[in-house]
């Protein structure tokens, strides 16, 4: 057997130091979809995602959960982006569900069209998901997305948010956080990285459309992600779930840190996990053990410049954003809160 180069990271088979309950300790009907042998493997192995890709992980869990919730009666429309490219170079496909890619900015409109076709054909048992990255959702696909919400079409839109245009080589999107380095927000000049006080929160914009269900989720808590997708599929009308999916390539992080970074993003307050229904925020995930933005940022090269002494103000400003989120969404865990 050839000598393999020594891995830079220790392979870990279990998450440690989290509040995650082991799957085997749960009642069988609460166990994760991925733990069942009859999971659908909707996004199958053999695709070309990078090692440690948060998006591939999030998509696999989300779509399999949706498949279980719909008795495998599911069609997906995909925006252009990493997820589309790494899963489907003809003649190969990693999708075992009916799947269509049309354009970068129209996934939700295509999904609306599919939903209309199913309705007219009396196939309301077949459900529709649109999915895309943050660029395809918060920027170029924003008009169509708002249209789907506005009409309350029976579509679940899933945004895999890795906070930049990764497929084209890590350029800034309107979901890129302040200070982050991208190919178009380089860490140079007076305000290194992405400028502060820009960007938008599409989950909050979605809630403002007063659609039946909106949620944010993160790949560090896949059980929560599955539950939210399952809940979404039990509702008719327009729904939006945004999943926080670290991108080792774009963020300059270790592939083995994807889950940890996703957890820290939530636990520092930078990425609040919320649910909204009909225009109101109805639930938030409380932070059980708070970490600092520095803990979160230091795992990623895209934030490396904020640790330089001359940029200390940037780290402070990032912490202030996280603090504001924690206050705004009341994320502090108190004894007796549901976590």
């Amino acid at each position: 057997m050839p000598q393999l180069p020594e891995s830079k990271q220790k392979v870990k088979f279990y998450q440690t130091g989290t509040f995650t309950v082991g799957n085997r300790l749960l009642e069988s009907d609460h166990r994760t979809v991925q733990a069942t042998i009859d999971r659908s493997n909707s996004l199958d192995s053999g695709h070309r995602a990078c090692q440690g890709c948060g998006e591939a992980l999030g998509a696999r869990f989300a779509i399999d959960a949706a498949m279980r919730a719909t008795n495998n009666q599911l069609i997906a429309a995909n925006a252009t982006g990493c997820l589309e490219v790494f899963t489907t170079p003809y003649p190969e496909t990693a999708w075992s569900i009916p799947w269509i890619h049309s354009l970068f900015g129209n996934a939700s409109a295509v999904a609306s069209g599919i939903a209309a076709a199913l309705k007219v054909k009396g196939r309301s048992d077949v459900r529709v998901i649109a999915q895309g990255g943050d660029g395809g959702t918060t920027d170029i696909g924003f008009g169509c997305l708002s249209g789907t919400f506005d009409r309350n079409d029976d579509v679940l839109y899933i945004c895999y948010n890795n906070q930049a245009y990764m497929n084209t080589g890590v350029q800034r999107s309107s979901a890129t956080p302040a200070a982050a380095r991208t190919a178009t927000t380089q860490p140079v000049g007076e305000e290194p990285g992405n400028v502060f006080n820009t960007g938008k929160s599409v989950p909050l914009v979605a809630i403002a459309h007063q659609i039946p269900y909106v949620a944010t989720a993160s790949v560090h808590d896949l059980h929560d992600l599955e539950l939210k997708v399952t809940k979404a599929m039990q509702i008719r009308g327009a729904r939006y779930i945004e999943i926080f999916v670290p991108c080792p390539l774009g963020w300059g992080s270790l592939p083995g840190d994807t889950i940890k970074i996703a957890r820290y993003a939530v636990e520092c307050g930078m990425y609040p996990l919320i649910e909204g229904e009909y225009g109101e925020i109805t639930a938030v995930t409380k932070i059980r053990r708070r970490v600092t933005v520095a803990d979160y940022a230091k795992l990623q090269k895209r934030f490396a410049h904020v640790f330089k002494p001359e940029n200390a103000y940037q780290l402070e400003q990032l912490q202030a954003i996280a603090d504001r989120n924690i206050k705004r969404f009341d994320l502090v865990y108190r004894e007796g809160d549901e976590s």
């Binding site: 569900i97 354009l103 295509v110 209309a116």
Partner: protein, 418 residues
């Protein structure tokens, strides 16, 4: 049934008779009346089952049709002008995926300067997009060709645009025979998609293709359009046998056989031309006309046959390839290679400029006397153009040409003379 009816209403009724299952609608002048009427029919239950989607843009309109067509539903939308440009990415996508969507284009100019009136710039901007483009002369033909379009699109798995002159046809009232539902049902079978999104037989549609296959894929799109030439004729003939009408097909000849000079054009303008040409023939001139009904695919062989005896061809078109000249004229030149004839390119009617019997007659006579330039701008005032050119030469900040010209000759100028 004969009805005195607006063009848009007639088209809406023809579309409804074709039993569309999903219609997406976005307002843009001058196609809006068509989707308004369809919306009314869906809401009242007259057209059922059908889903009517009020989308947020033309890009959304065609994208929704892409989804619904891929899911196996007969899908329809309509657009014009800026709307066509706004949906252009989806226009190419729909044909690339072989989705048999039918779309009406109420032909209108493209800005800037913004202009809501008729010319063909919108359809022409999509001429290479892989859609079939059928131009119609009258509202009767618009009705008939829409029904043929669904059959053609679905048989070939290729989207079809029915191009009708905005306002001139869409907003004009005329007597139109609306076919019966039985006739349309006997002509147009239910939609059987070539590929469909179905959980029972999952497929991946619209995936990536690299250089190793892209050329062949593009060639096949071209090849299928050439095959469409035959089908367009057959479907038009079959429809003609059912209705007794000559609608659709590749070309329509207006007494052009054996004529020395042949006018070639598309759309409704032939209506005015026919009268002028009849007058001129009565005076002894050897002049006829033909219209190109199928602009894409372009009927090269049929044109060669129709123009084989002509000495001079005058191509009249409401479109301009800026920096080049006539678009239809260029295609006609290509199609008539090897024939010994001169092709004059005449560009007119841009942005709704009226095309009258008088100005047509003047232009035809110029043509007969070999006084037309290779590119001739019909009914254009060169003095106005020169005045603006002088102004631009004299002054760096000369302002908007459109504004300046209207100050010279429009209502503002007219008011100054009072």
């Amino acid at each position: 049934m004969l009805k005195q009816i607006e063009g848009s209403q007639a088209v809406a009724q023809a579309v409804a008779l074709s039993r569309p299952e999903v219609i997406s609608a976005y307002p843009i002048t001058p196609q809006t009346h068509i989707v308004e009427d369809l919306g009314l029919m869906v809401k009242s239950g007259e057209l059922s089952p059908c889903e009517f989607l009020l989308v947020e843009s033309e890009f959304g309109a065609l994208s929704a049709c892409i989804g619904s067509s891929a899911a196996g539903a007969r899908s329809y939308t309509a657009t014009s002008s800026q709307g066509m440009l706004f949906m252009m990415e989806a226009v190419y996508n729909a044909s690339g995926m072989g989705l048999p969507i039918v779309m009406t284009v109420g032909n209108r100019a493209i800005g800037a300067p913004i202009n809501i009136w008729n010319d063909w710039s919108d359809s022409m901007s999509a001429r290479d997009a892989g859609w079939i483009q059928l131009f119609v002369e009258t509202n009767q033909e618009a009705v008939d060709v829409h029904i043929q379009a669904f059959r053609l699109a679905e048989e070939l798995s290729m989207p079809v645009m029915v191009c009708m002159d905005g306002f001139i046809l869409t907003h004009s009232y005329s007597q139109v025979d609306i076919p019966s539902q039985e006739l349309v049902d006997s002509y147009l079978p239910p939609f059987q998609p070539r590929q469909v999104l179905d959980p029972l037989a999952p497929v991946s549609m619209g995936a990536m293709v690299g250089p190793e296959a892209f050329t062949e894929v593009r060639y096949l799109a071209h090849h299928k359009q050439r095959l469409a030439l035959k089908l367009i004729t057959e479907h038009a003939d079959e429809f003609g046998r059912l209705t007794g009408r000559d609608s659709g097909g590749l070309l329509k000849e207006y007494d052009c056989a054996g004529k020395e000079t042949v006018i070639v054009t598309m759309g409704s303008v032939i209506g005015t031309m026919k009268e002028v040409l009849a007058e001129m023939r009565a005076e002894g001139h050897s002049i006829g006309a033909l219209t190109v009904r199928s602009f894409r695919p372009f009927p090269i062989e049929a044109l060669q046959e129709a123009l084989k005896d002509a000495k001079r061809v005058i191509v009249f078109e409401k479109s301009l390839a800026v920096g080049m000249g006539g678009i239809l004229a260029n295609d006609i030149r290509m199609a008539t290679r090897g024939l010994h004839l001169t092709v004059h390119s005449v560009i007119g009617g841009l942005g709704g400029r009226p095309i009258t019997r008088t100005n047509l007659r003047r232009m035809f006579e110029k043509g007969l006397n070999d006084q037309l330039n290779r590119i001739h701008f019909h009914d254009m005032r060169m003095d106005i153009v020169n005045r603006e050119l002088d102004r631009e030469k004299a002054q760096r900040r000369s302002g908007s040409a459109a504004e300046n010209i209207l100050s010279d000759v429009g209502l503002v100028a007219a008011a100054k003379t009072i």
